[in-house]
Symmetry: D4
Subunit: 251 residues, 8 copies
């Protein structure tokens, strides 16, 4: 995952770049003050290449400002989550932007080739869970993963899920997304033999309590290998799934 | 009503009753006229069949007292729920008692022949749910139903449940009992085409919150035909299932 | 309840239709992909004839698309719940639609003759509960049941309820709908000797907490034979009541 | 209610006692330090005669100490609530004490004649609510009220309640005590035309949550004239009911 | 309180009206079907004269319909609570209406002379609690009580409250209304020697949770003689206070 | 006290005052004697300094009215919190007003010189917490404190916080403001050796529950020296911090 | 499927099977065809490795019975979680057992060589979290992982955590375990560049609410790459961490 | 930083360190550079003073071990909180220990002279709050403060509190401790002009919910200058109060 920095060091060792140039590359301040936000340049060293902007609660002007700063600092691609349509059209006027309305995700730069161990499956219980699922799927693709989408395979119609046993058995990570009773995570967790990341959604009414019901279900899953993220946190699931799908041997 | 009121007013006028007594009579009138008598008589009609004693919070002496009173009033069989072992041994010393320790149920008299439309299936997610399941199953048998038990068929091992498709498809009512994430009710509700009564149990730890997690899951079930009773209320599920299994045409 | 499929088999046996035609009828894929939703054709086999669309969270275009697919697949009648007025006018422009504004229910095709064991009584505590009650009542009628409506018979004016003792005593299933303190379910449960399905509503203010108060009351009902569905879930109550009212002997 | 102090002043005016004696009587410090507790002597002036000790969290020694101080300060009768059996036997060894085990109430001195406007009815939904009811009833009697007990008249068996219409219609205040779904308060509130004080109890299991269910029900009662006290607070209900039953004209 | 019916009976006894006329008067059905609401005429017998309409969730047309029916049935005065401005202007076009915008209360007919034992004090912690307080105060005045308003006397500025000791000491009932921490009820309960009805309000932010904080505070009040109604339920407090202020001896 | 009481009693005896008036005097005695006067005078002493208006729930007209009253009473500077833009433009038209839109704070008059023991540091976890932070910072400045702002130093990027160790070590009070998981308070509490006031914010989504998550985190902080105020209560934190920063020796 | 259905229909026509049996066959069809068999076979494949027994709620006799059955079926090693000391001594008398009292874990057979990508770090906030941590660590070791333990490195003493930067930076998965405010997960999540599994514990008092505070903190972590399991669920964390640490390329 | 990095790169180039080790060094860089060392050194500076052991969840052996280690390291005095009687007698056998049973506090060494700005007042609402109050008071004394105790001055008897106006007005910090409705903090906060630290206690029953009621009250206090600590956290309040009472000018 730290392939960028490792590449740099190898280039130093092999003489492809001089030590002076490498110092220049590395000494960029780990974070830069922007007044309203600290842009973390050091994270690139620790957590790999791409940078993410959490769009909620930021003005379109602030988002564009951060994007420009990052681009001029050499950031190849940027993922903006929870981005309103208004922000998208403002930012899109300043830099080329690929905006996904349902998922509220904007992407600057191109999505990379899929690397990683295998395939990430993103499954939802119903059609109303799709926006969260797309946030997860696009995040995973942005971070260099192959994604298979299985939408509307909720447990109340079990045959819909069972007809996708091949995808489930072949996945390297599965993201199970459901509102209401959230049973999808347990059923998939029982079927699959890979890590399952469960995402409760705020879909439902009455005693679903904006996702509490699904959240509690998923935390109490009797299937092993299931971990949980915050309600509607598609990004977090996609990010963690990508981390797992890019595991590599460390000395 | 008119003649009664007229009589009353004449009695007021002639001084046969005081104004205070007349005010009281008039306040009660609408209740007496409408339903009071019916309610009372109706209760007597309904009490022809089996009677149930809720054992929790009653002393052994009180339970035995009620049992003896009922027996001498001609009650053929009596079901005692939430009965402690201590109460069972005390009562058992006074009358013949069939005590089921796990279910905390005591039965005086013999269980009747199974009547009813079909079979009641009692299914549990795990082995820890069995005490609640037995309360439900014994209640249903006591009320004259054929019961099939499917224990430990939780959704994390779906094959266990699917290997019982015949029983599920043939049931007239299914009682789905589960703690933790309570997904069993949704999965069964999606498979079966008969009424499903879901019973959350207090089994679990941490965020299961003594059954809240399962309760919310079951209330939010996306499968149609699922209704829910209180946490650990095996008796209530068995009673309702028996009612449904004994439906008959009314004019 | 599986009268359609049973009829088909009897027609096969008696030679009314050929085996080829029957295979054609049965081999329709159990569910069809529509991009945004899987239309479940197999449910017809398992759970009888009519199909239901949950309208919340679907665009008018999506609803119309599903309706058309189902109609062309031979679905006689379709029930659409939680349907906005906007969706109703859009869908109504494409297919004949009977829209009930209060209940937010749209019906394609005609409501069938009432069959079933007896009458379903739908009772409410107040006038504000009527939209939920109509969702329940229209669902039950759509599924072939005779429905009697008892609205505004809350327990704070007991004589209003008691004046309907005949309907209560004659019901085969009662749906008790109430917000605020939700006591209606217990009182009816104590009076009636048939299954009672309780529906808490989000009617109320302050400590009613959008239906929690009524939900807890109903789950804790000290009357036997009461089961509960989600807050405001009129459809679920109507569906379950119809299932119960159509119980039939299975071998 | 301030009859003691009024009596003192009338005795001053008529010369029955001297001004010096009256000063002596009045100048007793409004509260006395006892180290572990301030005994409030002034409350007698403001809130009438009898004094109450809240026994929970006090050692038997502390209770006896306070009792003795109060007795020597001229207190005629003392009510001790939430008094353990252990405390009762210790205190009873020091002063004559009438202890009620169920209600956990101890009384020093004799209960007065019943005064007040009318009768206080104490009603419970079940037999398990009786300890709370006895706390309420004994408190009311201790404060000089006539009390009628209607126990086990829960709404699931409405005829039990309706057979006591006379008592309900004649009450000056009714204390309605129930656990589980707490519907008793609403039903009585709808029947009666006097103030109703509702006491939720912690009786129940599962989703009764130690009285929350009953508490919420009672707060949401759709019957007018119902107010609520804390869960299991029989004393508070008895005290308030007595206050209401002793209302008198003030200039 | 049942002075109307008592008066009628006395008129019968004294011959002021004939028995026939009295029968006519009494035999009016206890409630009349209006389709959308059952108007309870019998309550007049049980709970005195004035009738109340709960305006929330009713259309302006429905409210006017009920009002007209009641007026033509001889109702002298009508109180409409939770009445929107829109409803007020619609109803006001049909019948003379006195509308109080803050309290959302409309009154048809004139407010009666104050009767009752003494004065009802309505106190609030802050200015934001005034709408709830006015609902309580206007209700109490409508039901024939003298009301004293003490607004903005919250406990964080104790001198404001203490400067009204005369009103507090002279009250026959006090309604204590507060949001946020709700401490007003306890402080007043400790000062006064009359019944205190506490009304939590939804005023506040953050951890006030729309009144939960105040509600819990008031239920846990360590002052005796305090009872509680639902959050923001000014009407309920005014109604109960009036009941208490009109207590009279019953045989 | 004795002479007062004696005089009162003599007046009773001689008929100078009525018994009713004497009762009232005696009921009030302990309050008047002990604290009443002190409370009132003390309040006047404390009001020499700046005054604060809580703007929420007040109309622009009301705010301006209070401001004018205070100015004409000699108040040098006034702080208005939770002030809407609409109110600001209305009030600003009447008196010179310095309005801070983000913090929703308006200031009349000039901010004083910074006095106090040292510097108050205001730190936030993210950029979305800044409005609450500005409410705290402006309040502290208004009350005469030097303030250092450290924004966007959340614990997920620990190096951002650690690069400000000097400011943290030198602070006399630190206000730690964070939503979501609220860990900032604990980390700062562990680093600093001055009082830390934690402010949870309603920033976040899903299981942050409008600040509950942060609130609970902060209350459970394992760092000593951390106290907490209400969610989003920047003013309260600034006010308390100023109090602490102005501690001075009292005899 | 076609040939099966055709055969079935021909059997119906020829009377080889009854219509009832044919209906049942058709209801089960979609499940059998799609996934049933796969599920069952797949389960057999997965069971080659180590097996786990959840000891809570099982009697010592039951545990020993299961263990013996598994051993005789060729199971090499068995992990028993939530095992009481009583159960351990009973089972230990029957088979060789390695019991870890703190973690309540029993192991039959020997722990395997560590395989996997790298090292799993198990970190705790305090010493009271160690039992949960040991459950996680022993589970991971049992499943073939190298484990490094970092105990008592809570965020209130940040230097303790920072002095272990090498272990944190080199980990392949980190399990962060904390009660109270649960901030450890966020801080570690911000430092590390590998997946972090957070385990809230029930350690704490007051507003920690048996782990809710830590659970909410962890779900709301602003650090990417953090997922969460149930309160005190050390086993689940160890199991998931092992899955991740054993990721391998799939075709 | 540059020279370090340059050195590192030269070592990479020359093969002195491997690329893997260099990657690790670079990942840690920003932390080491910024704060790591400072944190560690600072901790040593702060540990000159008294040290505290949190006794809950530690065995008597563990506590004694820590104490002995600290004593031999030169620690003059040690405070042990939440110490059981059992632990106290064990530790007391090993070192001289002053144990306070109510407060569950043990002190090794002598309490120092009181220094600090002024007096800390510790006030409680009732007698049951005294254990928490003693934890606060002893902590403050241990840390070198003069403490004044005002116990049992709850707001339901306001005269008790008002009779201590002098102490309240003269305090430099006040710790207000109360269970049930927790109103004490608001009333004291309104009276005093010094910082108030509120401690909710778990004293109460029913809807006090082990301190939630008091906690919410205190967080919502309408008095300025009030901050809150965890339920029953007397130590935290005493510690913070001491910090405030020892404020001194920093450059």
């Amino acid at each position: 995952m730290n392939s960028d920095i490792r590449q740099l060091l190898e280039n130093v060792k092999s003489g492809v770049i001089t030590i002076d140039d490498a110092v220049l590359e590395l000494k960029k301040a780990p974070f830069e003050e922007l007044g309203y936000a600290k842009v973390d340049m050091h994270r690139k060293l620790r957590q790999g290449a791409a940078e993410v902007i959490y769009g909620a609660g930021k003005t379109p002007e602030q988002i564009l400002g951060i994007v420009k700063k990052m681009v001029s600092a050499g950031q190849e691609r940027i993922l903006i989550t929870r981005m309103s349509e208004e922000a998208a059209s403002y930012v899109g006027a300043g830099v080329p932007l690929d905006y996904h309305k349902d998922a509220k995700i904007g992407i600057v730069g191109s999505v990379p080739e899929a690397t990683g161990i295998g395939t990430i499956v993103v499954a939802t219980g119903g059609t109303s869970d799709i926006p969260v699922a797309e946030e997860a799927a696009l995040t995973a693709e942005f971070l260099g993963n192959k994604v298979v989408r299985l939408y509307d395979v909720g447990v109340a119609g079990l045959h819909r899920l069972l007809s996708h046993m091949d995808e489930i058995m072949n996945a390297s990570v599965i993201i199970a997304i459901a509102g209401m009773e959230g049973a999808l995570a347990s059923v998939i967790g029982g079927l699959a033999d890979c890590p399952v990341i469960a995402v409760p959604t705020s879909v439902g009414y009455g005693a679903s309590y904006q996702g509490i019901s699904a959240l509690l279900s998923m935390l109490n899953s009797c299937a092993s290998g299931v971990t949980v993220v915050n309600i509607d946190n598609g990004f977090g699931a996609g990010y963690s799934a990508s981390m797992i799908n890019h595991m590599e041997v460390r000395s």
